[in-house]
Amino acid sequence: MTRVLIAEDDQNIVAALSFVLGRDGFEVSVALDGDEALRALRAAAPDVMVLDLMLPKRNGFEVLKLVKADPALGALPVVVLTAKGQPQDRRLAEQIGADAFMTKPFSNTDVVEAVRRLARR
């Protein structure tokens, strides 16, 4: 079963994404802040990560940068979610290594489709 880690601090968004990804056959785990996300990744790397940029403790940009710099995790596909829709935020996320970029409010279908596509890669 394909494993997805959702790193997002808003409980209701977590609930909705967990439901739709779970319904689509993914095994979902959740981290509510940046540090928790890194611990979860190092404990058991998922196949795809869905990462919010505005996370408590350690923001999503930092998490993404550490993941991409880590030889063991660098190949992990990452879908970035954010309310920061500015072109410069998108460029920065892509430069650091984001594989897909979705701005809030996103469509569940788009997120599931991106996760499915990246999991096959």
């Binding site: 968004i13 609930a15 809030k104 409010p105 996103f106 469509s107 569940n108």
Partner: protein, 447 residues
């Protein structure tokens, strides 16, 4: 000595209005009727005790008679005529005196409109600044999009799944309900923000309110300049009652600012400090040495030299940290300073951050032709314990270039030469220098 052309006709008009003859008034004053005639005709300058006696005889205060109001009006008209916007009209400065003399009400109307126009310009700058920099807006927009994301995701689940079990159905209906309420709260807060921004009633943070309170008093508090002054009493009552201070935090902040003002006034008494400032040509290091104060205290004290009739140079002040955050500001009427950082990166206050200990002076020219002398220096605040970084702030004084030659910092600076001025703006959003290599974003208001 008072200029005769302004005073003479006023004496004559007042004398006639009171039904006193030239002979009668001259007798009362102990001067000849022919001398009074010369005075009234504007052919003799007068001052001192004679002016005082004439004022008393006509039942006027000296300042009503000595033309101070007219001179202020003429000064305001000169300021208006110097607007770069009006440069093409080639206004005759001499005609201003004629206008003020013949039609003072019209002259005052023009000055009133000019001031209102300047105020609007400042309001546009402030609102633009707020729209782009206000942390409340950034948080509110982020919150709004997060709420919308949760609602959209939950709504998609509810509308797309006929066979949805009862538990998740209840859960996502509940999420849509609660997130909708939170979304409405955020939207209402945003609407309130724009409503109050439009009417100019939202001052921003408590620190902003304190600055507005100080600015509203012209940065000068006569009650704190007297021996034995106290922040208690009438000033404390004013702090409680001021509509500019809308929270306890703002009132506490204003009280703290007044206590610092009082301490500065005791350390640097007004007349002594003003005299020393003029003698030392506003050299802040020399003033600090003379009064045993630190540089920042001296700079803040310079801003308060606004006693009517005994004013020093009008200085603005700005303090910024390495992040560009503006931690203290005292704007000048024609020099708006940013509340939330983001001023022009060319300003001396930022340039000083590259030159610890050095005084950075700059003749700054704005796109509308306004020129100011900026003097800035990087200061180290109380050093924190190792290994925390040093706390450095950059402090800048600003004054109109027209008076810069009264300061040591204007020496050797060719204030008349456009080539020596640094072309700056207020900030990128309101600056029309599209070719500027330092531009960070496009302008959003009128080019």
């Amino acid at each position: 000595m008072i200029s005769a052309p302004l005073v003479g006709p006023k004496i004559r008009d007042r004398r006639r209005a009171l039904g006193i003859t030239q002979t009668g008034l001259s007798a009362e004053l102990g001067i000849s009727a022919s001398y009074l005639n010369l005075i009234e005709a504007g052919k003799r300058n007068i001052g001192g005790s004679l002016l005082k006696r004439i004022a008393e005889a006509l039942g006027l205060a000296v300042d009503e008679l000595d033309g101070a109001a007219e001179r202020r009006l003429l000064g305001n008209l000169a300021e208006l005529a110097a607007e770069p916007l009006l440069a093409g009209l080639r206004l005759d400065p001499g005609a201003a005196a004629d206008l003020a003399g013949r039609h003072p009400a019209w002259a005052r109307a023009l000055v009133t409109l000019h001031r209102a126009w300047l105020e609007r310009g400042r309001a546009v700058n402030a609102l633009t600044d707020r729209l782009h920099q206000d942390p409340f807006l950034a948080d509110a927009v982020h919150d709004l999009l997060t709420r919308a994301a949760a609602i959209r995701s939950s709504a998609e689940i509810l509308e797309g799944a006929d066979g949805l079990a009862a538990d998740p159905q209840r859960r996502f209906v509940s999420i849509v309900g609660s997130e909708s309420r939170r979304l409405a709260d955020v939207a209402q807060a945003l609407a309130g923000f724009f409503d109050s921004a439009r009417t100019g009633t939202r001052p921003g943070s408590p620190a902003d309110e304190v600055e507005d309170f100080l600015f509203d008093h012209g940065n000068y508090f006569p009650a704190l300049e007297q021996a034995g002054a106290s922040v208690d009493g009438p000033l404390a009552a004013e702090l409680e009652a001021s509509p500019l201070l809308t929270s306890d935090a703002a009132r506490r902040g204003a009280r703290g600012a007044l206590e610092r003002y009082l301490a500065a006034a005791m350390l640097m008494p007004y007349e002594a400090f003003l005299g020393a400032a003029r003698r030392l040509r506003y050299d802040v290091d020399a003033l600090a040495l003379e009064f045993g104060a630190d540089l920042e205290q001296v700079c803040h004290r310079l801003v308060t030299l606004r006693r009517p009739g005994s004013e020093g140079i009008a200085f603005g002040l700005m303090r910024a940290d390495a992040s560009g955050f503006t931690s203290s500001r005292a704007p000048l009427p024609r020099l708006p300073l940013p509340r939330h950082g983001g001023a022009c990166p060319l300003w001396a206050v930022y340039q000083a951050q590259h030159s610890p200990g050095a005084i950075v002076r700059q003749l700054a020219e704005f796109p509308d032709g306004e020129r100011f002398l900026f003097v800035a220096r990087l200061l180290e605040k109380r050093a924190p314990a190792f290994p925390m970084p040093r706390r450095l702030v950059s402090l800048m004084l600003a004054c109109d270039a027209l008076v810069a030659d009264q300061t040591v910092y204007g020496e050797g600076l060719d204030l008349a030469s456009a080539a020596r001025a640094t072309p700056v703006g207020a900030n990128c959003r309101v600056c029309v220098r599209t070719e500027c290599a330092y531009r960070q974003e496009d302008p959003v208001v009128g080019a």
